[in-house]
Assembly symmetry: C2
Homo-oligomer: 201 residues x 2
DNA sequence: CTTTGCGTTAACTATTTGGTTAAACCACTT
DNA sequence: AAGTGGTTTAACCAAATAGTTAACGCAAAG
């Protein structure tokens, strides 16, 4: 009765790996079975269809992608520290899930409607909270009069994009794996520094 | 003898549309044929296989994705103006090819090896030129001592990412198509302003 | 008018791939 | 030892999909 858990877990783990790398359309049930070292029929025994299995993985991924870093934004610390903490934490998470962004964004672009339903469970939009925060800081004259939407996208872009463009960037810059790792390590402080440098008075 | 050109062109145009939207794995030959309003056999008459047709589109896309904006970087204008021109021009191009980034980056991530060959034709790496330029500016004390790699990725990220994360961002911010269009219009100046604000002394 | 050859189509084939089934397996109960 | 029920497998099926073929259309050449 614990084979169950074991196998189910192995399937989910393998499915995550394959879906992340190949996407819904590119993933093959056989590949997932092979990766898990089991018979393909098992996939359908535990999860009725490819679509259902995919949804499991996608929802997990979605939950991870939207950081529960809301804590950082709500914390009783100065605005600049919030930015520093957010960028550091988000980059660290992405470092451990490097394929997450391209996977999620790809599938969201593929089925925006389906995503719309799942997404709005997450009622406390990170963006809206951030925008509120920025407006407050602008009004109190603590930072330059920046537009929250742009600042938000700028921050998110600079955190996420390096992982999406990794192979392309590595080739055009000549970096190897180790150097890229170090590059991301630097960004954990550099991104916040860059942002703050631009908005501080 | 000009039906030839006409049909071939229609196929390429339809293929571009479908591949952009669905990617290599998700695209169906039948869809491309339907989109072009022709028989599926024609696809194989003009382009032997799906793979060959895909390569045509992919190489075109790659060429577009790497801007020939080298002109902007080589121009005899102040560094800050180069940044302004680059961001403006690149955003304008992306605005007319909104699906280009996700398509290209996706396929590059899928087959980095194949990409490696095709890519290095483009020997004059935009990144290397940019890095050189930044180093010069830093040395002459015109800007703060920033790391070229970070500055480059920051700039590229802020230009490209909005198009990759568009549906997600639109939902979490509540923007509609028109507002998003205006948002991008603003970014044509805002991104450069943001960057310059951070690196100017 | 007939011939020639490229362009085009409908129908077909081969392969891939998601999904099913019936039997075997295995731990546990009686 | 036989039975029971969840788990696993090999073999199979059906749908989707890339690719092929043989015949047709038709404009230009003869």
């Amino acid at each position: 009765m614990e084979k169950n858990d074991n196998t189910q877990e192995r399937i989910l783990s393998s499915a995550r790996k394959v879906f992340m790398l190949k996407g819904m359309a590119g993933a093959r049930m056989q590949d997932i079975a092979d990766e898990a070292g089991i018979n393909k029929a098992m996939l359908h025994y535990y999860f009725r269809s490819k679509e259902i299995l995919f949804e499991m993985i996608f929802e997990q991924s979605l939950a991870q992608f939207f950081p529960r870093i809301t804590g950082i934004i709500d914390a009783e610390i100065p605005f600049f520290e919030k930015i520093e903490n957010f960028c550091g934490a988000y980059l660290a998470m992405l470092q451990q899930n490097p394929y997450l962004p391209l996977f999620v964004l790809n599938e969201v672009n593929q089925q925006p409607d389906y995503f719309k339903e799942k997404f709005w469970k997450n009622k406390d939009s990170l963006f809206l909270k951030f925008a509120e925060l920025v407006d407050t800081e602008v009004t109190s004259g603590n930072i330059k009069p920046v537009k929250p939407a742009h600042l938000f996208i700028n921050m998110i872009s600079m955190c996420i994009f390096p992982f999406i463009g990794k192979p392309m960037f590595m080739m055009s810059s000549g970096m190897d794996e180790l150097q890229f790792r170090y590059f991301i390590e630097q960004r954990k402080t550099e991104v916040a520094k860059f942002i703050i440098g631009s908005i501080k008075k």
